[in-house]
């Protein structure tokens, strides 16, 4: 599904939307290079973001290394997108 660049862009856009709303940050600040720290996203905020994504995409995203180690929005989105894609392929 994410092999298609259009689908991928849509997925990234939806993830950014959730990060902004659940993290309570200005969407404009959620740029690929923005660091998690600069956006003041705490571990609990990440949990809230993941929970919202679970509802939206009907998937389960465990807190594995790729999520915990993500230092910027780019890597966070990549980790989340990978989980969502994997789960979709399974179902």
């Amino acid at each position: 599904m994410t092999d298609n660049p259009q689908d991928r862009a849509k997925l990234v856009d939806e993830i950014v939307e959730v990060i902004a709303s659940e993290g309570m940050i200005d969407r404009a600040k959620v740029t690929p290079d923005a660091t998690i720290e600069s956006l003041d996203l705490k571990s609990v905020d990440i949990v809230m973001i993941l929970t919202a994504l679970e509802e939206k995409f009907n998937v389960y995203i465990p807190m594995d290394g790729s999520l915990q180690e993500a230092k910027d929005v780019k890597s966070l989105i990549a980790a989340i997108a990978e989980h969502i894609t994997k789960e979709r392929e399974k179902s």
Binding site: Y60, P62, M63, G65, L67, Q68
Partner: protein
């Protein structure tokens, strides 16, 4: 009363906050009992841990479960009336049932009959993360969903101290009796407190441990929401780990002085030599190296031991990404770069699950068995070493080693840390 004053005075005079020689001498564990996903008994639990046989099975719930995590380490179905009298059972939530069964096993192993610990000099401290969660869950479901009249014994069943008071009534113990509620450190703190109470003369004997029974719809869904549960396999300290598996059960230990055990001709299981506890005071869910290290260091100081005296560590090892890195760093920071990487450290949680308020108890029972059989149980489901966890995790296969002294770590949400150290007794006592 004379003992009490003397104990306190000696501690104060020595100027040592919790030095084991300050109070009533050496404290031993005379008996232990456990209920876990491996069934009834410490032996069943130990065999599963030693042989690396996971007790994680398909999740069974009373009502349909709509969550995504479909596995847990649940206590196998059993008939409670085979273990608990008909007049006591109605007051027993599953967490209390487990405590009673583990308590009876511990008392029997310690060589005590029902009334041998009767009186004001026995303390009962049983930790639990939540208490009677099954009773709460069923009560709320019936009230909101079925508009049923509440079960009349709902309140006495759900109270977190019910496990302790039920054991106290069973064995007629009149001393200090309470629950410790410190999440996943509950059992370890209860055991440590019992040790301190005897040392400082507040009790002669203590029935201590932890119990939990919350692998039910409401709680497992809440744990799932925190995203710390693995959808597949719990693999502590390994690359590719993605969380823990919930467990449940109870573990109970009988503490007394070495002197009192020997006087009655009983050979104790081991000596309980050290206890350290601390708080991170930082984050509700994220562990902290400084807090974990300080509890480990305190336990060593309390035992008057050097890191090199520890031959095996039963880790908290939840298999969450964060815990295992923090715990590895804490061990290395206290034990040193060389010995910290060399001492065998295993997590048995993939076998019995994370039993929360019972966790430290089940793991201490395993630690004591490891000490007695001189076998370090393995960390199973281990794929590949994670450079962020540079410890010897005893991957996948048990190891025969000489263990004289062992440590058990428990680190809880909220940042509460508790560490216990046990030591084998020489055969000449």
């Amino acid at each position: 009363m004379a003992d009490l004053r003397e104990g306190e005075a000696r501690a104060a005079a020595a100027g040592v906050p919790s030095g084991r020689r300050a109070g009533s001498g050496r404290i031993v564990i005379s008996g232990m009992g456990a209920v876990s996903a491996a069934g009834m008994g410490v032996e069943e639990l130990w065999r599963a841990a030693r042989d690396g046989v996971a007790q994680v099975r398909a999740l069974k719930t009373q009502r349909p479960y709509d969550g995504r995590i479909k596995i847990a380490a649940q206590v196998p179905a059993f008939d409670p009336s085979a273990h608990i009298e008909a007049d006591v059972l109605p007051f027993c939530d599953p967490f209390t049932q487990y405590s009673v069964i583990a308590g009876d096993e511990a008392m029997a192993q310690a060589g005590f009959g029902r009334k041998d610990l009767a009186g004001p000099r026995t303390a009962v401290i049983i930790g639990t993360g939540i208490g009677g969660m099954t009773t709460i869950d069923n009560g709320l479901y019936n009230y909101y969903m079925e508009t049923l009249r509440p079960e009349p014994l709902t309140v006495p069943r759900l109270i977190p101290s019910t496990a302790a008071t039920t054991l106290g009534m069973r064995y007629s113990c009149l001393g200090p009796t309470f629950a410790v509620g410190s999440a996943c450190a509950s059992a370890s703190q209860s055991i440590g407190l019992g040790l301190q109470m005897i040392r400082f003369g507040l009790a002669d004997k203590a029935i201590v441990g932890g119990a939990e029974a919350c692998v039910i719809n409401g709680t497992i869904r809440a744990w799932e929401a925190l995203r710390v549960l693995t959808p597949d396999l719990c693999r502590p300290f390994s690359k590719g780990r993605n969380g823990m598996t919930l467990g449940e059960g109870a573990a109970v230990f009988i503490l007394e002085t070495l002197e009192s055990a020997l006087e009655r001709g009983h050979r104790p299981l081991c000596e309980l030599v050290g206890y350290g506890t601390s708080s991170d005071a930082k984050d509700p869910v994220r562990p902290d190296v400084a807090g974990a290290s300080s509890a480990i260091a305190q336990a060593l100081r309390d035992a008057e031991m050097a890191p090199q005296d520890i031959h095996y560590i039963n880790a908290h090892g939840t298999a969450t990404h964060a815990n295992d890195i923090t715990e590895s760093e804490a061990i290395i920071s206290v034990f040193g770069d060389e010995f910290g990487r060399a001492v065998p450290v295993s997590s048995t949680k993939p076998v019995h699950g994370h039993a929360l308020g019972a966790g430290g108890g089940l793991e201490l029972a395993i630690t004591i068995s490891a000490l007695r059989e001189k076998i370090a149980p393995p960390t199973i489901n281990f794929l590949e070493a994670d450079p962020r966890c540079p410890i010897d995790a005893v991957p996948n296969v048990a190891r025969k080693i000489s263990i004289k002294t062992a440590m058990s770590n428990s680190f809880a949400f909220g940042g509460i840390n508790a560490v216990l150290i046990v030591q084998a007794l020489d055969h000449d006592g």
